[in-house]
Subunit: 341 residues, 3 copies
Amino acid sequence: MYSLAELADRLGLEFAGDAGRLVRALAPLEEAGPDELAFVVNRKYLSQLATTRAGVVILPPELAAHCPCDCLLSEQPYLAFARASRLFDNAPTPAAGIHPTATVSAEADIHSQVSVGAHAVIEPGAVLEAGVVVGAGVYVGHASRLGAGTRVYPNAVIYHDVWLGRNCVVHAQAVLGADGFGFAPGPAGWEKICQLGGVRIGDGVEIGAGSTVDRGALGHTELADGVIIDNQVQIGHNCRIGKNTAIAGCAGLAGSTIIGANCTLAGGVGVVGHVEICDDVHVTGMTMVTRSITRPGSYSSGTPMSSTRDWKRNAVRFSQLDSIQRRLASLEQRDKKPDKG
Amino acid sequence: MYSLAELADRLGLEFAGDAGRLVRALAPLEEAGPDELAFVVNRKYLSQLATTRAGVVILPPELAAHCPCDCLLSEQPYLAFARASRLFDNAPTPAAGIHPTATVSAEADIHSQVSVGAHAVIEPGAVLEAGVVVGAGVYVGHASRLGAGTRVYPNAVIYHDVWLGRNCVVHAQAVLGADGFGFAPGPAGWEKICQLGGVRIGDGVEIGAGSTVDRGALGHTELADGVIIDNQVQIGHNCRIGKNTAIAGCAGLAGSTIIGANCTLAGGVGVVGHVEICDDVHVTGMTMVTRSITRPGSYSSGTPMSSTRDWKRNAVRFSQLDSIQRRLASLEQRDKKPDKG
Amino acid sequence: MYSLAELADRLGLEFAGDAGRLVRALAPLEEAGPDELAFVVNRKYLSQLATTRAGVVILPPELAAHCPCDCLLSEQPYLAFARASRLFDNAPTPAAGIHPTATVSAEADIHSQVSVGAHAVIEPGAVLEAGVVVGAGVYVGHASRLGAGTRVYPNAVIYHDVWLGRNCVVHAQAVLGADGFGFAPGPAGWEKICQLGGVRIGDGVEIGAGSTVDRGALGHTELADGVIIDNQVQIGHNCRIGKNTAIAGCAGLAGSTIIGANCTLAGGVGVVGHVEICDDVHVTGMTMVTRSITRPGSYSSGTPMSSTRDWKRNAVRFSQLDSIQRRLASLEQRDKKPDKG
């Protein structure tokens, strides 16, 4: 519970209205009540703003005149709202210290200010810096490193030689450092190529639940600072992902893919191996990236959804596209001939 | 092992044949032997029925005359077979009580009739009602609730403030309540939006292995009664899924997606965020749903599979489709002109 | 660290150069230094070979004349490199014996030469043969079997009645034997069909992190010898996968799919249920397989990626394809008429 004045102070924003008004929680604009804080990013929401029951709204200064309630003024209301969300964070605080049921190697290097949950396993040579939180059942392999303030949620698995920077978040069931999918065809079947590299992850990286980042075959798989990865994303061996790139759920990157900085890959995107995507590329949902992208911009593949009946009719024509274009070319040819008809 | 008469009694069905015939197991029609039970849903399988070696077949009354063996009569043979499968369930029974290696908070509210497996962790404020089964290595977070008869398989992770109703099933490695993918762009990169909501799941919901259901950003992510979710499905924050909707493997829903009741999403379907799908919609495999669906029916996207050689030829024309249509329109135009040629 | 002569001996290859040269590690051709081993598969890499700083290169005999450094001669350089990778394997060796925190049933059949990690659970009737390695937190269900030399990485879950052959590898968070997605529509919603079958996996099978292989409904789900499966792959109930078939990341197989031997499914491929793919089929990335494939070869679906602007223009035409073809047919018809224009 914060007063409006306190909120303004903590968020570094100007306010207008009752300094003592108490805010209990955050809520969407249409649902917020008199003790709740909402936000409006632009004029598009003016009509909703007019009828809101929110106690306080974060909005751009130019909309202040339209606000029927108290407000906080920000040129970036969404960012201000993100920061406000931290003030209202209700997640339970992890217990300090090492749980008695955890199995922590005497040869691991554990800072005194860490939290290690029940049944977690920390192998020899692992390093846990100050403020690290290792959830229940987490496995941290030999010589892996968790930088200061990094948090790993229950049952995630970190193989050996995986380094994470400071203030990373790894959600439950994520797997960092499993073997890349490397096999050579031999006389009797596939022969495994031992995956000798590790994983190197920068600062402030978030990795979603069930996502997998494979270790390198030779050399490391690398995620730069500020990369954010949603749930169930697969990152193949020796991928390199640039600073602040965001990858949404169910996307998959084959091996040795290089992605630049400030890219966004939407949900379900697939990227083949050994291609390179430059900085500032956006790829829309479920696109199949089959070649390198050398110019910033937005890229897509796929077909639009329709009723299954219509879709079937059109889809069958897709398989005739080349012949359709040849028939068209032939008509065009005839059309040009002066002696035609 | 049941006699035919016992089976008929337990399934509430009429039978024809030897009341004392013993049935040892279920089997597909083509593979079943004289001590096995198979089923036939309709006339399509009459030829297979004619040659079956099954001891007993569940079939609609109108096919009884065609049955070469004993039979159970049901208007819904598949449903009767589902119910018969429960009589032959061979899964091991979980041990009663709390395993001595489990870490159960004294501040959790645990019914006396539960099973908690080895190395499971139950945090303060968690509630386990009668008949709950928590598998080995499962994590149940603060103030989360498992309704009567709910079963969670090994190593699944349930974050804090996640409520499940009665008789739910959560398979191994599922993650309920991890943070939604919420970040705001800030001056130095992405800034996390704390995910303050929880997850609310109704009665009789089944969630497959490795599936993830994110907690809400504000308010809850909600799954209604009877929802069934296959393996490796991703449900984003603040999704709401209606009663008895089924979602098959590898499907992914971005945030704030609303899906009605009695829908079926086939495998690999992707749904963008903030759209709404009405009741009674079927979406075929790997379709990309990019807009709301307001009428019941079946929807699709994608292209048909062909040999890679043919596909390449046609796919290149896809990138020329707009020019193909313009060339066609131009020919049509010329064709209409009276002074043409 | 190996001398060139030792390497040649262990790999069964001829060499040319300084028998005593020491090789410390493997590296890609462009990055390798004087104490590292690289490889070249064919003439395509001759220019890189000319300028390499590698100490030793594995290459085909016919390229030996072009090699600026010491070399190992192999008709299959990639395979030789795979075998060399095992000599340089740097993964930590699992501790012998059963960790005191593991929960191992007295009714399990455990060979004396196994490694069972911290907090692992082995249920009654489970069989662990010689050389098995069970990682920390792994669950092995009732009557499941791990053949000699099989390794299971941390927190993977193996349900009951799942058999693995010899020398298999199962990565972290994989789930073998969860229930298939089987439900019958009943009067009040879905009714579960108990999944009464198990999983049968051959020798030398590798299963990636987070992949799921469901148990059979009736009868078993089967993976033949030498099958390799990447991360986050979903295999539905009663699938049968033939010898040495490879399935890349994020692919999904619906139930009762049969795949032949020596097939390769690229990343993100989806296969509908109840179809059959013959031996020696390759399916390219993100293809949707909606019918059986009866002839060896390469198969594809999908559309090529382009800029989102171009894509939108073409995609809208996809929904008009059937009408485009009808308009074309109509022009062709008119064009044929002698009395036209």
